[in-house]
Symmetry: C2
Subunit: 411 residues, 2 copies
C-alpha cells in the first residue's frame, strides 16, 4: 500500500494522559484512536496487526478441534440472574433497556449464553467433548480504564468454552489449551510467557491460570523463583517447589484460563446422559485472550526509544519500502514496488514526495515494520537497495532480485 | 468436519412465531439461535456462511481501494448531539450510562465517529479521495424485530465511507460502489438484483439507492416496469422512462448507499484545503450491507420444500459426504473422507452410525450443501460414489478419483 494514501497519520506527540509505552506509541503511530475513556477505534495499521493476531489465534483454536460460533453482545437480564452475576460480576455490566423496557447486559463474557445453547443441544456422552470458540466484542464497565489498550471498556476477545464428561477429560484439555496458548504467544513473538495459578474471580470455577508476560510497566505482579523458574501470584519467603529465592516482577496478564467444573452447568441444568444411563452436569472450562491487550503487551516488550518493533508474523506489513529518489526518477521506485507486490510481499511503500529522508526514517522507526528497504540514487546506481532490520543498526546493500530470498532466509 | 461432532443440531420443527421461510429454515437447520427478540447467535454452520459472505464483501471493498478499520460500538452522546441524531435517528438508539453516569449510544451506523476521525487527519486535497470500511456489530432498538435475520436488533454490517474533493468525484465513486455491490450479490448467487432510488431517511444526504432482491415474503415493495425493467419505490401509473406498465413486487432490501454530500462534514467541521488554497467541507458518501440480512435473503430466494439450497461460493461446505456403510465397513468411508480432505475440499462428513439413510438425506436437504456424495455398499462395489446436486433430482455414479474434477467443471 502507498503511504501517501494511508489513513493512519503518525503524530509527533503522544496524549498527555498516556502513561504506558504501548499507549504512547500506538497512538503516536496512529494504530488506534481514543473515542472515549477506554474505547478505541482501530485505524488501518492497528487493524492489520489485530487481524494477524486474530488469524494466529483462530488457527490454533481450529487445531484444538474447536468450532467457531458468534454470540450476541446483548444478553437478557434473566440469563445473568440464573447465575447471580447480574449484580455481582466484576467489573460491573454495562446495562440498558430496550424500547419496551426489557433489560440487557452487554456481554463481558459468555458462560451463560453458551451453557444455554449447549443445554438444549447436548444430550448424551456421545456428543462430548465439545469445544466452541468465538472472536467477538466484549464490554466492561471499568471505573478507571488505563494504559491505552491494556485496560479498556470495549475490546475484542477470543473466548473458548469446553464441555466434557469427566473432570479428568476437562483437565486434560485444559493442559492442551495451555500448550496452544504458549504456541499462540510464541507465534506473536512472545517467547517468555509465564503461566501462574490465579484466582478464578467472578468467572468462578475451581482452578484458573493466568499467562503473564514480564514488562516494566505491567500493573500486575508475580513472584518468580530465581532458581527453578516457578512463579506464583502471592508472596512467600521461599519458592514452594525448590525453596529458591523469589523475586517480585511486574507483568501483564495476556491470557486467562478457567476450569469451571459444574458451576454453570449445575446452575443452568446443562446435563448429559453418561454411558451408564445416569444424568450428570456437563463439566466445563473457559479460556480467554483479549486481543487488543495482547497487542499492547507485545509493544511493551518490543520497542526502543524510536518506536515499535513488530515481530514478523504480526507486523502490519513485512517491508517498509522508502523512496528517496527525486520525483523525476520516481518511476524506478514505482517499478520496484510493483515487482515486490507481485511476489506477494506485504509492503508499505513510502512514496510521499514532500517528506525528507529524516522524516521518513523517523516514521518508519515509529511504525516498526520488521524490514526497511531504502531506494536512493546511490543504491540504484549499484542495482541495489539498502536493507535494514528494525531491530538492528546495521544496513546492507542487496541486489533487488535477491531481496525476497534474503528476507525468506533471515531469522 | 465430522457431522457426529458438529454442534449444530437440525430440528424437526420451526419456532411457531417464525413467519418467513428463511427464519424457519435457518433455525430448523440450526444455523442460528434466537437469544432474545431480534438477537441471534450464529452456530457453526451459520457462522461459516456468514464468514464466506464477509470474505466476498471484504475482497470487493479492497478492490475499490478501501482501507479496513474497526470502530467502537460505544459512541458518546455528544457526538450524536452535534448532528442532532441522539433523539431523531430511526429506529432509536440503544442508550446506556457508564459507571460515572456518562451517556452512550450503541452504534447503528458510524457517520459521526468516522467524520471526527477524518476531520482530525485530512487537511489537504492531496489526502483525498479516501475510502474506509469496517465489518462490525451494529445495534437498532427496533420496536418489532421480525423475520428472523431480516429485521434484527443486533447484526454485523459492512459499512463503507468515502471522502472526496468534489461532488463529481463522489458521484463517480458512488457508481463504482454500485457496480461492486452488484458483483458482491452475484458472487453470493443473487443474479437478479434491482437498484432503485430511495429516501435517505435519518442517514440523510441528497441521493440514495437501495438494492432489492425480489422475494415473495419481502416486506418491502417496488414497482417494476414490465417493458424496460426500470424500478421505482413510489407508485405511478406508467413507467417514467418508457411509459410501460408497472407491476408491484415484494422485495427485500439487501444494500443501501447514500450520497451524503456535506451533511456530516459541515456539521462537524471536516474541511480540506483545495488546490486554490480554499477551505471546503469534504464531500462524503456511505454504503452499507447487513450481512445477516443478506444471508437470510439468499435463503428466501434459494430453497425448496425440503430446505435451503446454498449457492456454491457461500455454502457452509462444498460437499456433504454421507456414509450408508455398515459400521464394519466404515473404514472405507473414512478413507474417502481423508482423501477428499487432503484435496482441500470443504466436506461435511455424515459419519453418524445411529441415523437412517432417510434421516441423513432429509438433514442434508435441509442444510443445503451444493453437492451430496453418498457412499454405500452398492456404490463402492463399482469403485464409485453417488453424486447429486442439491438443486437437481438427478443422481449419477462417479468414480471416486474423478470427483474433484467433475465438481470443478460443474457449473
Amino acid at each position: 500500500m502507498r503511504q501517501s494514501q494511508l489513513f493512519s497519520k503518525p503524530k509527533k506527540e503522544a496524549p498527555k494522559e498516556a502513561e504506558t509505552i504501548s499507549h504512547r506509541l500506538l497512538v503516536r503511530a496512529d494504530f488506534i484512536d481514543q473515542l472515549s475513556s477506554g474505547v478505541y477505534s482501530f485505524l488501518p495499521l492497528g487493524k492489520r496487526v489485530h487481524d494477524k493476531i486474530e488469524k494466529i489465534i483462530r488457527e490454533e483454536m481450529l487445531n484444538l478441534g474447536a468450532q467457531e460460533i458468534y454470540l450476541p453482545v446483548l444478553i437478557p437480564k434473566n440469563l445473568w440472574q440464573i447465575t447471580e452475576r447480574w449484580e455481582k460480576i466484576e467489573p460491573p455490566l454495562f446495562k440498558l433497556k430496550d424500547i419496551h423496557g426489557k433489560e440487557f447486559g452487554l456481554g463481558p463474557t459468555h458462560e451463560e449464553v453458551i451453557t444455554e445453547l449447549v443445554r438444549t443441544r447436548i444430550k448424551s456422552y456421545k456428543d462430548l467433548p465439545l469445544y466452541l470458540f468465538q472472536i467477538q466484542s466484549k464490554f466492561r464497565n471499568e471505573m478507571r480504564p488505563t494504559g491505552g489498550l491494556l485496560r479498556v471498556r470495549e475490546f475484542i476477545m477470543k473466548d473458548l468454552y469446553s464441555f466434557h464428561q469427566t473432570k479428568e477429560d476437562a483437565l486434560n484439555f485444559y493442559q492442551k489449551v495451555k500448550n496452544a496458548y504458549f504456541k499462540i504467544f510464541k507465534r506473536c513473538g512472545l517467547k517468555k510467557v509465564i503461566c501462574v495459578e490465579a484466582e478464578p474471580g467472578t468467572i468462578g470455577g475451581e482452578l484458573s491460570h493466568e499467562f503473564m508476560v514480564l514488562a516494566e510497566n505491567g500493573e500486575d505482579s508475580l513472584f518468580l523463583c530465581q532458581k527453578c523458574g516457578f512463579a506464583l501470584k502471592t508472596e512467600k519467603n521461599l519458592c514452594p517447589k525448590c525453596r529458591g529465592k523469589l523475586e517480585k516482577k511486574n507483568c501483564i496478564e495476556i491470557g486467562h484460563i478457567f476450569y469451571l467444573g459444574e458451576k454453570y452447568s449445575q446452575a443452568m441444568g446443562a446435563n448429559f446422559i453418561d454411558k451408564e444411563g445416569k444424568k450428570s452436569p456437563i463439566i466445563m472450562g473457559c479460556y480467554g485472550i483479549g486481543i487488543g491487550r495482547l497487542m499492547a503487551s507485545i509493544v511493551e516488550v518490543f520497542h526502543d526509544q524510536k518506536g515499535m518493533i513488530w515481530p514478523k508474523e504480526i507486523a502490519p506489513f513485512s517491508i517498509h519500502l522508502i523512496s528517496l529518489l527525486p520525483s523525476e526518477k520516481q518511476n524506478l521506485a514505482e517499478k520496484i514496488y510493483q515487482d515486490l507486490k507481485k511476489r506477494e510481499i506485504e509492503i508499505l511503500y513510502d512514496d510521499r514526495p514532500d517528506k525528507t529522508a529524516g522524516e521518513k526514517f523517523a516514521e518508519a522507526d515509529l511504525i516498526g515494520i520488521p524490514y526497511r528497504v531504502v531506494m536512493s540514487g546511490r543504491t540504484l546506481k549499484k542495482g541495489s537497495v539498502e536493507l535494514k532490520r528494525r531491530d538492528s543498526y546495521k544496513t546492507q546493500l542487496v541486489k533487488i532480485q535477491k531481496l525476497k530470498e534474503i528476507l525468506k532466509n533471515d531469522k
